[in-house]
Symmetry: C2
Subunit: 243 residues, 2 copies
DNA sequence: GCAAAAGTGTTGGAAATACACCCATGT
DNA sequence: ACATGGGTGTATTTCCAACACTTTTGC
């Protein structure tokens, strides 16, 4: 039998009091912003703000303001740094180890965002903001390498279950581009014929009746992702046990 | 082009200062603790601590201490309320709407936990701690109904991809119990023969050579989950596109 | 012997894989 | 003409869903 004491019934004053004594924990959001360029998966990074991490790379993040929701904070960070606000953004998970921030106790909520690099050229390059190719050794500040890894795994899984990869491509894209994207995200090679067959049978692509141009070979058709068709598809009825 | 100003390069003092002005945001953990009893999925709940929510049900949660990791805080809450500490626990996601807590700005990290009700009988019942049957109308405090729903959906998905359902059962269980568990979690009926076939072909069950007893019909065999076999299985090689 | 659930196999269809050839374009 | 990748079809295999009867126990 445990002997710890239980919290007593509290009113608002008590909560505020406990917050004041216990509460100096900062909350931040960190955005892992993926882009796709030259058939490679890239991440937006800047040089760290903190002197302790001088020279190291950092994700885009900021403390959450007291009057904004977490999602709002993530969108704000994105907007401040890139000027973009019509982007895919989703919460991934929190990181709250006591020692993860050298200055203070800061719990961070990681967000994952996907944007089309060509469509949204960077407009500011403060702190050497740039697209960084994903690689094993990136010399990152804080626990940002961990956050990046978790978000990459999240993306690999998510992209197989939801049609969010399209956010990384131009509105009109060839099947080759789509396949390159999946291969880059998953880090595997896929059979071209089966890949096509799969996407066509899913019936979420819409033929634009346009073709690629400026390619040194037979141009491919360009497609758009059809949200309507996707939304009206009904989900699975049965269990898919798989572990 | 955005005209917002960018944060300047900061040192530790600046971070601390910003934290003090910006930072009075509380962080809590809330645990959604699932159990399985009488073929029903249950959740541990208490009567809310807060006067504003008098009479309403609440998940088990507490503010995170400044010197403990998030996971530690979740384990602590679990231990304080139930006396158990050898349980499955996993972070699900954060909830941080500005208005979610009436007393102050409190961001909460939701954790999901699975425990075997028979093995760990409740030892304290402060605040009417009890196992609550899942249902549509539960009159819950805060945004706890939302958190519960998100965690339930998380569980439905997770239990199909990872062998965590076993945490809800006794160490030795019949296939019927296992199937009842899956049916309760997923809210669907499954074919008994295909269910067995599936689990046997996954090769993660170990025959204990024991039988059920005290059942008013032919007793079933009892099995254990074999972690070793599970761990040594290799993952999928290929892409499983499915949306 | 009757009720109730355990235990077991087969079959048809759908989806995944592996694989090879012709076609359209730029150079 | 040739190099490059686009576009297509088929045979095989694997997985899933549907389905019915016999067996073992308690009462």
């Amino acid at each position: 039998m445990s002997t710890e004491k239980l919290p007593k019934r509290k009113d608002i004053k008590a909560v505020l009091k406990q917050l004041e004594s216990d509460g100096l924990i900062g909350i931040s959001v960190d955005c892992v912003i993926f882009g796709f360029d030259e058939n490679e998966l890239k991440v937006l990074m800047i040089k760290s703000d903190l002197k302790q991490f001088e020279g190291k790379w950092s994700l885009l993040g900021d403390l959450v303001h007291r009057d904004e929701d977490l999602d709002q904070a993530a969108y704000r960070v994105l907007k401040e740094r890139t000027g973009m606000d019509d982007v895919y953004l989703e919460q991934v998970r929190s990181f709250g180890d006591v020692i993860r921030h050298p200055a203070a106790r800061v719990v961070t909520i990681a967000y994952c965002s996907l944007i089309n690099i060509q469509q949204h050229r960077l407009q500011k390059t403060d702190n050497e903001l740039h697209w960084h190719k994903l690689g094993p050794d990136m010399d990152m500040a804080f626990d940002h390498q961990l956050i990046l890894n978790v978000c990459h795994e999240w993306l690999q899984k998510r992209v197989q279950e939801h049609p969010l990869g399209f956010s990384l491509l131009p509105q009109k894209f060839s099947l080759r581009e789509l396949q390159n994207l999946y291969e880059a995200i998953l880090g595997i090679k896929l059979d071209r014929r089966n890949f096509r067959k799969k996407f066509f049978s899913m019936d979420v692509l819409e033929d634009t009746n346009e073709l690629e141009y400026d390619v040194p070979h037979r141009p491919g058709k360009l497609y758009k992702f059809n949200y309507i068709k996707y939304k009206t598809k009904e989900g699975r009825k049965f269990m898919r046990l798989d572990f």
